[in-house]
């Protein structure tokens, strides 16, 4: 119980400084759950991309961080949500190199490759929530739809 308190959190994303906080929190939470250095770095980098999208494209929002377990495996779930314009064409947004701004357009697709589970829920004009999960010792079972 005393570890879960440090892992679960809801962090605001409204400035560049908040991104620093998000990265730091995710790194600490992942380390606490026993993620290795490479796995930590991947998750933190994915979080950095998604949080920046929340800030830049979504106009700000928040990240929720929670430990999860399934089939005896431990993991970390991060959920980035905003109430921005939404993503009109998800396939296009996920394509490497696509950007509506002046980024590299690698953020969303890159983040997907850096985590075990990746889910986007976006409604035009209503906002976007990207939820990702990574598992300490890999996904518990071969991926299956629930």
């Amino acid at each position: 119980m005393q570890t879960a308190g440090g892992v679960s959190a809801c962090l605001p994303i409204h400035s560049d400084l908040d991104l620093v906080w998000v990265r730091q929190h995710v790194r600490q939470a992942a380390a606490q759950l026993g993620f290795g250095l490479v796995a930590q770095t991947k998750l933190v980098t994915a979080a950095s991309e998604l949080a920046r999208n929340t800030l830049v494209h979504g106009g700000g929002g928040q990240m929720e961080c929670a430990p999860v377990s399934r089939g005896g495996g431990q993991g970390l779930r991060l959920s980035f949500s905003d109430e921005g314009p939404g993503i009109p064409d998800l396939d296009q947004a996920l394509r490497d190199g696509y950007t509506s701004g002046e980024g590299l357009g690698m953020g969303l697709g890159g983040a997907r490759r850096l985590v075990h589970e990746f889910h986007v829920d976006s409604r035009q004009g209503r906002g976007t929530t990207v939820t990702v999960t990574s598992w300490v010792s890999g996904p518990p079972r071969p991926r299956e739809e629930q």
Binding site: A9, C10, P12, H14, D16, L17, L19, V20, R23, R27, L37, V38, Q40, T41, K42, V44, T45, S48, E49, R52, S81, D96, G103, L104, M106, G107, G109, G110, A111, R113, L114
Partner: protein
Amino acid sequence: MPEQVAAGHQETPAQEVGDFLRRRREQIAQRWADAALFRTVFTVSREEAVEAGRAVVEALAAVAAAERVEEQEADGFSVVREQLARMAASRSRAGSTNSQISVEVDALRMPVVDLLIAELEGRPAEDVRDCTTALTVLMGTLRLVVLETLLSAGQELINRQHLQLLEVATPVIKLWEGIVAVPLIGTLDSARSQVVMETLLDSIVEQHARFAILDITGVPTVDSLVAQHLMKTVAAARLMGAECIVSGIRPAIAQTIVHLGIDLGTVKTQASLADALGYALRKQGAHIVPQDPHHAGSR
């Protein structure tokens, strides 16, 4: 519930308030969920607001039971202090001033007092007064606890900004004739990488440098934005006639960059700052002769 007041053992008003809070926890949490403070912080689901409310009521009950209604440092508060701090911070980020937040916390008082008075119906006026006073004092203390978290958060923000300022002071080091280096430490956000790029380009001109080394050993995260800044800096240095080398990419970061899909192929990389210096020296035509192993051993 008159049987609560057991014969022979008279409860103090604070203890009675503690009992009341515990008994009415659910009802109070439900009412609070509709109050501005909870409603605006927990926008995703009402259940979350209720859950947070329950925790606060529980904490207040513990403080009251311990008869410490006036003490901000009462143990009971420690359980919810972090949660209160987060709620207050969220309001403050949304643009509320400290006094507005204070008013929002104060607005939690009336619904509870109303409930208490309703429950004490029929009891002597003196009891009613004592209990409401205890509850009012307790809610005032809650307000102070919240304000205190805001003030310390303000201090933390100042510290953070100070740290960021320090980070901006990026020294460009002349390693050798014609070779400059920037050891990057910390977060490489847009503002800071702009500073890095400018100081590096300036020193390339000043030092007539042909090689510029960007050492990222101290950069904890390389995401697409950081990578983009690195590539821009490398390209700009190239335009100034200098070759830019990125050193200090740690193995975990190298793997992450690959998964992210970023191609640093156009960027010259070296494992360490020392390797980068060796590379630049060799390209300048300097000979680095390793010490003869026999001599090295005999010294």
